[in-house]
Structures are given as structure tokens and as C-alpha cells.
């Protein structure tokens, strides 16, 4: 079982994600440069956080045109579990794999802090070990993290059970307090908060167990017994 962590120019959470996948959850993971082809034998894809292309033009928009995104789209269609975190979420949105947009936080500032999110869909490949409405203490760090979609899209998200996480407190003015969503099929999930920063007790000042269940869900999905 192998997870590809895609590295774009300016990605900066790629090594953190790789560390958590391999050293903490003992999954084989491989860093894949954005101009390389996606390896054949992978079972899941993670788009990590960072500032791909320095957030120029709009966060994630240039990376969404990277050569590897074509392969990612193919795998998404085939139902492969794909997770985008922070800038990875922005790239998924910009590439059209997820609906909506990510705007500047209402504070107009970059925000790095600990908060809590609530599980709203525990059927995705990344949430199936979590309970519905379970709270996850988690780190956020972004400047353009405010999820926005028009009313029609929001209604569809609700109808199709595509809202995966919401914030437990008002954080950045996101529509419906959305912290993470999935595609209609549920296999592609994007989230602004950083599970890789929250799944180890030594780093998480609150409780690392719920965030670690995001990774254990992936293990579960891939048929690896945790």
C-alpha cells in the first residue's frame, strides 16, 4: 500500500506529511515532483500544504495546471482516495476537482492557531474511523482559508453530504463554517486545517487522538489494520 505525496514548487508541508504517513502510521509514502508521472502502484494521493508558486495570482491556481494534475484527475475518476490539505485543498478547488473557492480570511491576516473542527461526514476514506459530530482539536495556518460557494452549490453540498468538516467556532467567515468538503463521490477530500500537525501528542497541545483517526481512516480504507 503506497501513498503519493505530490510536491509542487513552494509546497512546504510535504516533508511533514511524509513523516507522519511513514514514521507515525507506517504507510509507505513517496514524494512525487509535480512534473514527474504519478507512479503506477499507488493507492492514495495527498496534496500537501504550502505556498505553491508563492500563492501568486491566487493560492493554488498555478499548481492546478501542473502536469501531474492530469494524472490526479484520472485517479479521482477511478475513485482513488485523494486528500488535499490547506494549499492542497486550494489546488483541488482550482483544478475543478472540488467545488467552490477559497478567499482571504475575514481578518485579512494569515492565521496560525489551534481550533476544533466537527465531523459532518464519516463515510469518506479519511473519516470512516471518526464518529459523526466528533470534535477534532487541530491546527490551522492560512491566509486564504475562507471557503466560499454560492447558495446553489452550498445546497448541493448539503444534499449530497459533501460537507466533511465544519469549524466549532467562528474562524474565518467561511460559508456554513466549512473547514473541509468532498467531491460528490466522496473519494476526494479537501480541508484547510492540518491533520499532519495534529496527530502526534508531542506537537498537539490538546488531544492528538481524534486527528490521528483521519490517518487511521485512510489505513482502514486501504485495508491496513491499524
Amino acid at each position: 500500500m503506497k501513498v503519493a505525496v505530490i510536491v509542487f514548487p513552494g509546497s512546504n508541508c510535504d516533508r511533514d506529511m511524509h513523516h507522519v504517513l511513514t514514521d507515525v502510521f507506517h504507510l509507505k509514502s513517496q514524494l512525487v515532483w509535480h512534473t514527474d508521472e504519478l507512479p503506477k502502484n499507488i493507492d492514495a494521493i495527498v496534496l500537501p500544504g504550502g505556498f505553491s508558486y508563492g500563492d501568486r495570482l491566487r493560492a493554488g491556481v498555478i499548481a492546478a495546471h501542473s502536469p501531474i494534475i492530469k494524472d490526479v484527475k484520472k485517479m479521482a475518476e477511478k475513485g482513488m482516495p485523494i486528500l488535499g490539505v490547506c494549499n492542497g485543498f486550494q489546488i483541488l478547488v482550482e483544478s475543478g476537482l472540488l467545488p467552490g473557492a477559497l478567499l482571504k480570511n475575514t481578518s485579512l491576516n494569515f492565521m496560525c492557531k489551534w481550533t476544533e473542527i466537527i465531523v459532518k461526514n464519516n463515510k469518506t476514506p479519511f473519516t470512516n474511523k471518526l464518529k459523526l459530530d466528533q470534535r477534532i482539536p487541530i491546527a490551522i495556518a492560512n491566509g486564504e482559508g475562507r471557503y466560499y460557494a454560492d447558495d446553489k452549490t452550498l445546497a448541493l453540498l448539503k444534499k449530497n453530504n459533501q460537507i466533511v468538516f465544519t469549524y466549532a467556532e467562528e474562524v474565518n467567515g467561511a460559508s456554513l463554517g466549512i473547514a473541509g468538503i468532498s467531491n460528490k463521490a466522496g473519494n476526494v477530500v479537501g480541508m484547510m486545517p492540518h491533520p499532519e500537525r495534529s496527530a502526534e501528542q508531542i506537537i498537539n497541545p490538546n488531544n492528538s487522538k481524534p486527528a490521528s483517526l483521519i490517518f487511521e481512516s485512510l489505513l482502514n480504507t486501504l485495508g491496513v489494520t491499524a
Binding site: N12, G50, M111, C112, R197, I203
Partner: protein
């Protein structure tokens, strides 16, 4: 800007002819105060640089410390004061970029940033607010984009910084000892310029920084591009892994002039370069513009023929521009060509080593009377005074600042900003603690005791995390060194740092001097900054939640030392009095004792007692833990003091320990046995922060009220101001 008549004469004598205009420009950049340390170098020699963990090598731009198991930590500190005072966003951002490249130069990955910021009175001064807001944003945008966490720092506001800014940035690197760049070169090796293109920004920046800030010289300010810096970091580290780098230097102050001459001098070789090969972003740049441009995000790498191809491939993978600009020669000359024609040819040893100066110094006259003051009247309502102290921008929570910095990326940050010292986990299972401290108010009143206090405070902050100090860096910021009184304060500070470092056996592994920090109103107060690194072999002390019934034990003696205190200056607008003095012997004993108690796992929290004194230190514990306390002032080990003095004195070498009641006996007996001055001064409980003398209450403040003031005051000033 150019050389002084004496310097010109010296140069002509050394090279045996008149330099041409380009050569003169090159030498003037390198002999600027900023690059050459010509005023300070002689005096810095006294700092102790040896230690069992110190690894030194030729041409290192950062200090290197061995942390065991084949790993090293690197550290460096720099400032970007003049540029930040003109253009705070770009100045502060490029300040981050510059120090990061110093860490990279050693062959280590930058893993943390700390920053020290100083501005005028932001409560009244809109310009100071603007400088502050934009410097913070500059640091945030740059550091966040690089994915290097900003894990701590300190901020001070003082009228002496009106229309000015001190922006100090320290960076920490981590890597394998075997990957350290060896800095060797042989004849025929290639000189490669990697990274951002060269343009007309930062022209003469080092000379701009070596003079009083008189005119706003915007062309001297560099333009930041964190995206390319991030790519340069990855290129350099991959090139390091593939053994493509024989020697390396970052391009900072003085641009190519400085990088070429210093590299050639440090390696004992000659370098020939052709300016027509440099990749540029502007047309028709003159040789002198190319030689002294301080365009950012550039690294100079020396490689050999065997590895040149690999190095090029790595640059191409990341699409980072590069140009092979020259070759290493057997002689020791730096020869600058434009196409085939030699346009400058100088001995690099001469260029890289400015004639040093013996500046006169004399004790400032103001110091004679500064300690003599009439004590202020004790305010009637000390509860109100405490609330005012908590909303003082120098004391209030800095969360508005550090929440804009990504302080988690890299997933090493174990103890986060807002604590005494910050702690990072290292790959060998150990932990590194870091803190920078400065205090211009204390240093103004007594340059010697002031800076020793900063050093002691930085050490105490490190100790609070359970770390043992292993190395320090200093950043010495003063006004015009040509003024003997200012130069005296500089010399005093260096001697004081030396004395403390020797006594505590903490080697100085790096530092920087920034002079000519002057405003329209005159020189800044002496503002040396001390950064201390500490190592934790087993596990750090992570503060535990304080509960009802937990006790406060205070270590150290509170004295009549309120000169330069926030209480005197902020509440009474009084500059003067006696500033706190560190007794090294008892301070060492206390520090060692605290580390011992932490290692035994007996304490819940250890907190340093400094700015704002005991009242502020206790309030912070209450605020952060949402609990009240009752403290008896009569129990505090002290000289005979007034109530307000007990509350707000900033005497050094004091700690607060928070302990469970059942551990009291054990701890007290350890403290007694070690001969450490101590007392149990109070207990946590209820919803009020209460200080009483005998049975009468002198301060009673609701925790939620204190919280509101402390948490929101700084952000409120900037967001609504």
C-alpha cells in the same frame, strides 16, 4: 559614499597604485561599517568562542553547535534596521531572507526563525503603528511562504525608536555533521551564482546601513521574493546531498563585492569572474551596479567540473536561474571582467579586511545622574495600575503578532510562542530551546548591568523549558560609533557579555553589530540583543494546566531595582533609578537548582519573572490558566520595599514555580539544601488575582478583566488605530 582619506591612502599603499572607480566602489562596499566591522572588530575578540559543542570552520556565516548523534544545530542573527525604517514590509522580509541564507550556507536546513522588533510609542504614534504592522506582515509573508516556523521573539516600544525601527531576525538550522560544507576550493573550480536575478535594488545597501538615516534612500532597500528563496533552499539542500558544493556563501550586504572577496580570502584562493555572465533582471547595468547590487535570494556556490553538470540539472529541475560566472585561480586576486576586459583586479585579502579603527570612547555624562531620582508616589488604586500594566503594549500578549506567523510548520514546535522559551524537537530525540531578549530601557540606564540582565533573562527563559544553555549569539545595536559616548556604551556591553558568557560557560557562536542607528531626535538607546540556545537531552517541561490549590513558590530576591522598569516608565513616565543587577554566583546557583527540580519532574510550570515584575508574571499565569490566586507580599524574599516596588520591581534571577501541594515539602527541602533563596508566596484559587500585605488586600482584579486587557490591547491598537 566612499572611503575616508585615510582609507584611500591605506588602499593605495597596499595595492601600489590608484584604484579605478569600480575598484573604489568594490572596496567602499566591503569596507563599510556594515560589512567590515571596522569599528567593532577589535573589541569583539574578547568574546569567548570556544566550547565543547562548538564546531568552527573557515568562512562559516553561522555558528555551528554539535548536538550529538552526528547532528548539528546552526544559528545566526542579523538586523535590517535602516531598510525597515524606510520600507518596513520589504525591509523586514528581506531581513528574514538574509539570515536564512546564512544558515543555508553552512549546509543546514533552516528550521526556525525568531524576531526582535522595536518601534516608537505605538499608542500615540501612527507612523510607529504603520511600521509595526507592516514589519510584522513582511516577516509573516516571507517566513510563512518558506515554510520555516517563526517560533518566538520579543517586541519593545520606546520613544527612542520614533520614526525608526529595529528589526532583528535570528534563524536556527539543523543538519547532519557530515553534510556541513567544508569550504575548500582548488584552481579551476567553477563559481556559480544561483537564485534571483541581479537588478538595481539594494544598490549600496551596506553603505546606506552604515550611515545615519538622513534621507529616505529607497533604491537601497531590497525587494523580497520568498518563492524564489524557497526554491533556492531546496536547490542548495539537494546539491548538498549530491555533494555538489565545495564552498558556499550567501549574497547579502555588499552583494558580489563582498561575497567574492570574502570567499576568496577565506579559502586562500583567487577568483576571476565575468560580469557579462551574471543573470540580470535589468538592462545596461554598469559593472559597479552589478558588483554592489544587493538583490536578494542569491547564493554563490563553488563546484568542480565533475559536479557542475549535476548542479545545473538540480537548478533546472527547480527552474531556478543560475549562471557560471567565474573560476577559481591559484593566485589570491579577485579579478572582475566584462566580457574579455579586466575592469577590476584587487588582492582579495586587502578587500576583505578593512583597516580597523581605534575609536575613542568616554563615559556618557547622562549616566552620572541617571540613578538619582525622586521615587514616585505609590498609586492609590493598585488594581487599576495592574490593569494598566497588563494593557501596556510592552507587556500585553503578542498573540496578534505570532498568530500571523506560521509557527507550527515543520512539525517540530513543542513549546509554542507566547511561552517563556520556545522548544523544537530534533531528529535525534533531543529538544532545542531558543529565546532572544533585549531591554533598551535597562541598557540605557546601565549599559553593563542592562545587557547582563538581557543575557540572564534569555538564559532563564531557556531554563524554564528544562534546557541547559549551550550557546549564544549577540546583536549589538547602537548609535553613531564616531560619538565617543556611544562607543563607550558599545564597549561596556561587549565586556559585560564576555564576563557573563565566561562565568556561565556559554560560548558566543555568532553575532552582528549594527551601528549608526540614529533618528531625527538622536541616537537610539543602547539595544544589545542576546539569543540563547539550550539543549534538552530527555524531555522538555511542557506547562501543565494549573488547578485550584496549586502553590506558587518564588525563587530569588526582589530588590529596589525599578530603574528602566515598565512600572516607572509606563505608569510614571520616569526614566531613571537603579536598574536590576545580576549577581552571577547566586543566579547560577538558582538556574542549576531549577533545572534539577525540573529534571525530577516536580513542577507543573516554571515561569520567569521579569518585565512588569512579580505582579505581571503571576497575572499571566492566572490569565493563561483561567484561575485566580492569592499572593502574600510579606512572604516575598526581598529588601525592605514599598508595596508597588514589591509588585513591579524587575529584579533578575527570579523564577516562579507552580507546584502541587503534595510536592511542597520535597521541593522546599531541595531548595534549602541548595541554598537557593525561596518562599511559598501564594496559592491558585477562585476568580480574582489578589495580592495582599498581611491581611489587607492591595490588589484585586478579576481574571476575566485582566484577560481582556492582556489579550486584546496590542491587536486593538493596530486594528482600530
Amino acid at each position: 559614499m566612499s572611503l575616508t582619506p585615510q582609507e584611500s591612502e591605506y588602499l593605495e599603499k597596499k595595492i601600489g597604485r590608484k584604484p579605478n572607480p569600480l575598484e573604489l566602489q568594490i572596496v567602499a562596499a566591503e569596507w563599510s561599517e556594515h560589512c567590515s566591522y571596522k569599528s567593532s572588530k577589535k573589541h569583539l575578540k574578547i568574546l569567548p568562542k570556544e566550547g565543547k559543542r562548538v564546531i568552527s570552520g573557515p568562512g562559516y556565516d553561522s555558528g555551528v553547535l554539535d548536538v550529538g548523534d552526528g547532528y548539528v544545530v546552526t544559528v545566526h542573527i542579523e538586523s535590517h534596521n535602516h531598510p525597515s525604517a524606510v520600507e518596513p514590509y520589504g525591509g523586514a522580509a528581506t531581513g528574514v531572507g538574509g539570515v536564512i541564507r546564512d544558515i543555508l550556507s553552512a549546509g543546514t536546513r533552516p528550521i526556525a526563525i525568531l524576531d526582535g522588533l522595536r518601534f516608537g510609542d505605538i499608542q500615540k504614534d501612527k507612523h510607529a503603528q504603520w511600521l509595526f504592522k507592516n514589519a510584522v506582515r513582511g516577516i509573516a509573508d516571507y517566513g510563512n511562504c518558506l515554510g520555516i516556523p517563526t517560533i518566538g521573539g520579543e517586541i519593545e516600544f520606546d520613544k527612542c525608536f520614533t520614526n525608526y525601527a529595529l528589526v532583528d531576525v535570528a534563524s536556527i538550522g539543523f543538519g547532519k555533521k557530515e553534510n556541513l560544507i567544508q569550504n575548500k576550493a582548488e584552481k579551476g573550480d567553477y563559481v556559480v551564482l544561483i537564485g534571483g536575478s541581479t537588478g538595481r535594488d539594494g544598490i549600496g545597501g551596506s553603505q546606506f546601513a552604515s550611515d545615519k538615516l538622513e534621507a529616505e534612500n529607497r533604491s537601497a532597500v531590497q525587494i523580497p521574493d520568498p518563492f524564489i528563496e524557497k526554491l533556492v533552499i531546496e536547490v542548495i539542500l539537494e546539491a548538498r546531498n549530491q555533494k555538489c558544493i565545495k564552498a558556499m556563501k550567501d549574497l547579502g550586504g555588499g552583494g558580489l563585492s563582498c561575497a567574492i572577496s570574502e570567499t576568496a580570502d577565506a579559502l586562500g584562493v583567487g577568483i576571476e569572474l565575468d560580469l557579462s555572465l551574471v543573470h540580470k533582471r535589468e538592462q545596461n547595468m554598469s559593472p559597479s551596479e552589478l558588483m554592489i547590487s544587493e538583490s536578494q535570494e542569491r547564493m554563490l556556490v563553488i563546484t568542480d567540473l565533475k559536479k557542475l553538470g549535476t548542479l545545473k540539472k538540480i537548478c533546472e529541475k527547480f527552474r531556478v536561474p543560475y549562471s557560471v560566472i567565474g573560476r577559481v585561480k591559484k593566485d589570491t586576486l579577485m579579478e572582475v571582467k566584462l566580457d574579455k576586459n579586466t575592469v577590476a583586479k584587487l588582492p582579495s585579502q586587502i578587500v576583505a579586511n578593512a583597516p580597523l579603527l581605534d575609536r575613542p570612547s568616554s563615559k556618557p555624562k547622562y549616566l552620572n545622574n541617571i540613578e538619582k531620582i525622586k521615587k514616585p508616589k505609590t498609586p492609590k488604586d493598585l488594581s487599576q495600575t495592574l490593569l494598566k500594566m497588563l494593557s501596556n503594549p510592552n507587556i500585553a500578549s503578542k498573540q496578534w503578532v505570532y498568530t500571523q506567523y506560521d509557527h507550527e510548520v515543520g512539525i517540530r514546535t513543542v513549546v509554542k510562542p507566547g511561552s517563556d522559551g520556545s522548544v523544537l524537537r530534533l531528529d535525534n530525540g533531543k529538544f532545542l530551546a531558543a529565546k532572544i531578549d533585549g531591554n533598551s530601557k535597562h541598557c540605557y540606564i546601565n549599559p553593563r548591568d542592562g545587557v547582563i540582565g538581557c543575557f540572564d533573562e534569555a538564559c532563564r527563559n531557556i531554563i524554564c523549558t528544562g534546557a541547559k544553555p549551550i550557546g549564544m549569539v549577540d546583536h549589538l545595536q547602537f548609535g553613531n560609533p564616531e560619538d565617543p559616548e556611544i562607543f563607550w556604551t558599545f564597549k561596556e556591553s561587549v565586556q559585560a557579555i564576555t564576563d557573563y558568557a565566561k562565568y556561565f560557560e556559554i560560548p558566543c557562536v555568532g553575532g552582528k553589530v549594527s551601528l549608526y542607528n540614529e533618528t531625527d531626535e538622536g541616537p537610539i538607546k543602547p539595544t544589545p540583543l542576546i539569543g540563547v540556545l539550550g539543549l534538552i537531552e530527555k524531555k522538555p517541561l511542557i506547562s501543565q494546566k494549573i488547578q485550584d490549590g496549586d502553590l506558587i513558590v518564588m525563587l530569588g530576591t526582589t530588590k529596589d531595582e525599578l530603574g528602566g522598569s515598565e512600572y516607572y516608565e509606563y505608569i510614571h513616565d520616569l526614566v531613571g533609578g537603579k536598574c536590576p543587577v545580576v549577581e552571577m554566583k547566586s543566579s547560577k546557583k538558582t538556574q542549576d537548582g531549577v533545572l534539577d527540580i525540573i529534571s525530577k519532574g516536580l513542577v507543573k510550570v516554571v515561569h520567569d519573572c521579569s518585565k512588569g515584575g512579580l505582579a505581571v508574571a503571576v497575572s499571566k499565569l492566572c490569565i493563561q490558566n483561567d484561575i485566580g490566586c492569592k499572593v502574600s507580599l510579606d512572604k516575598i524574599p526581598s529588601e525592605k520595599l514599598l508595596v508597588d516596588e514589591l509588585l513591579f520591581s524587575e529584579s533578575h534571577s527570579r523564577f516562579l514555580l507552580v507546584i502541587k501541594p503534595q510536592d511542597e515539602k520535597k521541593i522546599i527541602s531541595i531548595l534549602k539544601q541548595k541554598g537557593i533563596t525561596h518562599a511559598r508566596i501564594g496559592v491558585f484559587s477562585g476568580k480574582n488575582i489578589t495580592f495582599q500585605e498581611k491581611s489587607s488586600v492591595v490588589v484585586r482584579v478579576r481574571v476575566d478583566k485582566a484577560q481582556e486587557k492582556w489579550l486584546n490591547s496590542l491587536g486593538g491598537l493596530v486594528t482600530h488605530g
